[in-house]
Amino acid sequence: MAYALEVSALSRAFTGKQTVVALENVDLKVKEGELFGLLGPNGAGKTTLIKILSTLLLPTSGTAKVLGYDVDGEASKIRPLINMVSGGETSGYGLLTVRENLWMFSQFYGVPGSVARERIDGLLKAFGLEDKANAKVRTISTGQRQRMNIIRGFVTDPKLIFLDEPTLGLDVTTSRTIREYIRDWVRARDDRTLLLTTHYMREAEELCDRVAIIDRGTILACGPPAELKRRMNHASTFVMDTTSFDPAPLSAVRGVKGVSADEIESGKRVRLVLEDESAISDVISAVVSRGGRIVSLNKVEATLEDAFIEMVGRGLG
Amino acid sequence: MAVSAHLRTFRHAAWLGWQMESNWTRPWLFMIYSIARPIAATLILVVMFLVVKQGVANDPAMFAFTYLGSVFFMFVAQVMMGATMVIMEDREHYQTLKQLYIAPISIRVYIIGRAMSKLLLTSVSVVISIAFGILVLGLPLDLGTVDWPLFAAAMALGISCILAIGIALAGITFLTAKHSSGINEGIGGAFYLLCGTLFPLTVLPSWAQAVGMAIPLTYWLELVRRSLYPGSAMEAISGLGALGSGTIMLYLVVSTLAFLAASTLIFRYADRRARRAGKVDMTTSY
């Protein structure tokens, strides 16, 4: 099986007034044809990893191979095969139309004119942006702009595409359009690989063949969402409603040994991941001893989010 | 609004302006930048003079005429640039214009306060240029004979007039996008051409002379030159020789008042238009 990405012992530090270690000793392998997700909170190092893989940033140590080529020495062999889109980016020139902007970026990859035109038309249709094709970029909305950016990534027909938080801040419908396209794109041919970062748990669970959970520059776990959830089987998940009391329920239960927790509704509802179910009595006494009352307590099916909470020790907010 | 409130705004804005002017990562670059550009612009004129006249001594009065005109015009160019920059920067870069706008202070006083640091820096450039002119280029200027009271009066009126123009420009800047940063240069260029800055008004076509005679800067430059060169040397070439200094002072006062009134009207109008069109917090660069 060929690997689209092979990352080993990769570290990246930023030296400035104080040194920030954005990635530490990361090992990762992504197979060709995979839809792979990087899941992590803000500042985890997701964007840094994408920048290294897309040849914008050099590793401090370790190696990374993209489609078999080394990011340090063989960047020029990697670039024709990849593309990158980040959510919230503002690319292009405001006085060009959407179509012109897409055409311009396709030219940087040498796409022949007629092929570019055909692809742009198809993609505009797929993303419901045909009616804005001839609108100047400075006049379109944020969501339309983001769809244009994603089209820009696919218009060069890359073998490997990096999408950094592609649905950041988008409404439900637009996000769904994008997700569906992403999935279909990877499935359409078996030599297409897609690496996606997100901090939406649902997105990762729904879309990805495999997910790596990353926090503070290290990869905590990696596997198919189902497997990550299965790893949780020894643990149990509860949703607990309480009356409000001081300190907040979340901080009260977080002090209990063997319990990771995340807030679902502020001051009222928390999600608990227990390493051992017997810890539930400690949770109850932690609430009651602080003057709170339990309104309900339900055991629930584990989700990817629970796996995440247990590993990172907190939720994604 | 109380005078004390205006004073407070003024002090605060002047301090802020200075911070922004001097907050450069490399002070030496800042110094070169503030001083080298205007001085280079003056030196271009010096070389043009020398190419034609072969030496300052061949026509010292004309040399002094151009040199002083060019040096004192720095005040106009710098303040006009400063006034438009205040609006652009506060609106687009720091995006603080809207807060300022709703704060209970006079924007005009704020703009004047911010312009102070420009005035101060320009004064330094002017003094350096004149010293350079005297010491290196042979500018015939005798500080002992200067008519200081006339100079002071002319400067006071001239600077007020320049500030009035600056405020009007700031008002217009409210309404324009960033790309037309040319507005200050455009209007500045017109003044440069029409106010007898480099050459006597009489060289211009007569319609242009008439326009020049309606702009207070023409009289300001004339009085500055006359105060620095008492006697008839400047009057003889300027084309305003028929008018006594008192008359010119009167023209300067009247035209300055007219410009102040116009500036107030323009600013008010621009202010209303900007609010109505929602342009106070627009950003035009992306």
């Binding site: 990246r12 940033l57 980016e89 020139y93 006085l95 060009l96 012109e100 030219q107 | 190419v51 790309h179």
Partner: protein
């Protein structure tokens, strides 16, 4: 069509379109230099200079369009592209960075050319300036090589300023009036003396202007060197700046990747 040609055309496109789509900017860009030109022409008239001096002013005024474009459309451009988020997308693409810069230069030359031509045309008409083109081919050669050389210089600065944003802006600002002075935009550069004019000749616009003045105004241009010599030096400068630009680009891109400064934005 090969990749890099496509890329250059792609990058030139917004510049050409921009000049056509926003004619109001062009209007301003033509009007402003005319005011300056008028002031200098009347100044020469007041000094009683020969009429050819007025021609020098019009020529210099027209050429400022290209110089300003080199400063603001080339040298500080990568910094600006970084600010608006385009630089990283340019750099992940497989095109040669020289092709990108060449596209910027070609597009810029077009819009600057429109401005220069209008300035020249209006200047000649309004101020009744006469020039005689006796050796059009020679003139065209000098003009083209000058353009290549100054844009090559702009390409070099663009690479150097890729990582030094604010300074790029400040230095571009600094290179206006001081360069108009030392490069002799409005007078024969020989007036500055042999040392200054020799030093200023490292900036290609200096010899370019001098050679064009000689070709348009003959003896009165007080040329620095024979035109043919100047053309040879300009060719050398053009090649040198292009080669330097290429190395500067490689070096700065690598340094940027190492230090993480190609994408200063939050993304």
């Amino acid at each position: 069509m090969p990749l890099n040609l496509r890329a250059a055309v792609g990058r030139a496109y917004p510049r050409v379109i921009g000049a056509l789509r926003e004619p109001s900017w062009t209007f301003f860009d033509v009007l402003l230099p005319l005011l300056g030109i008028a002031a200098y022409i009347y100044y020469y008239r007041a000094l009683g200079a020969a009429s050819s001096f007025e021609g020098f002013v019009v020529l210099g005024g027209a050429m400022t369009a290209f110089w300003l474009n080199v400063l603001w459309g080339m040298a500080s451009q990568f910094y600006w592209e970084k600010e608006i988020g385009n630089l990283q997308l340019f750099l992940v693409s497989p095109m040669s960075r020289m092709a990108l810069l060449a596209g910027m230069a070609l597009g810029g030359m077009f819009s600057a050319g429109v401005r220069a031509l209008s300035t020249l045309f209006l200047g000649l008409i309004i101020f009744d300036v006469h020039m005689t083109v006796e050796e059009p081919l020679f003139l065209a050669a000098v003009f083209l090589v000058t353009l290549i050389a100054i844009y090559g210089m702009g390409m070099m600065f663009a690479s150097l300023f890729m990582l030094y944003g604010r300074d790029a802006w400040n230095i571009s600002n600094l290179l206006q009036e001081p360069i108009y002075l030392v490069s002799g935009f409005y007078f024969p550069v020989r007036a500055l003396g042999p040392w200054v004019s020799a030093a200023a000749s490292i900036i290609p616009i200096t010899l370019g202007l001098d050679a064009m003045r000689q070709l348009l105004f003959g003896e009165q241009a007080l040329g620095l060197l024979p035109v043919a010599t100047e053309l040879v030096i300009l060719c050398v400068l053009a090649v040198a700046f292009l080669v330097l630009a290429r190395y500067a680009l490689r070096y700065m891109e690598r340094l940027g990747r190492k230090e993480g400064r190609l994408t200063l934005r939050w993304q």
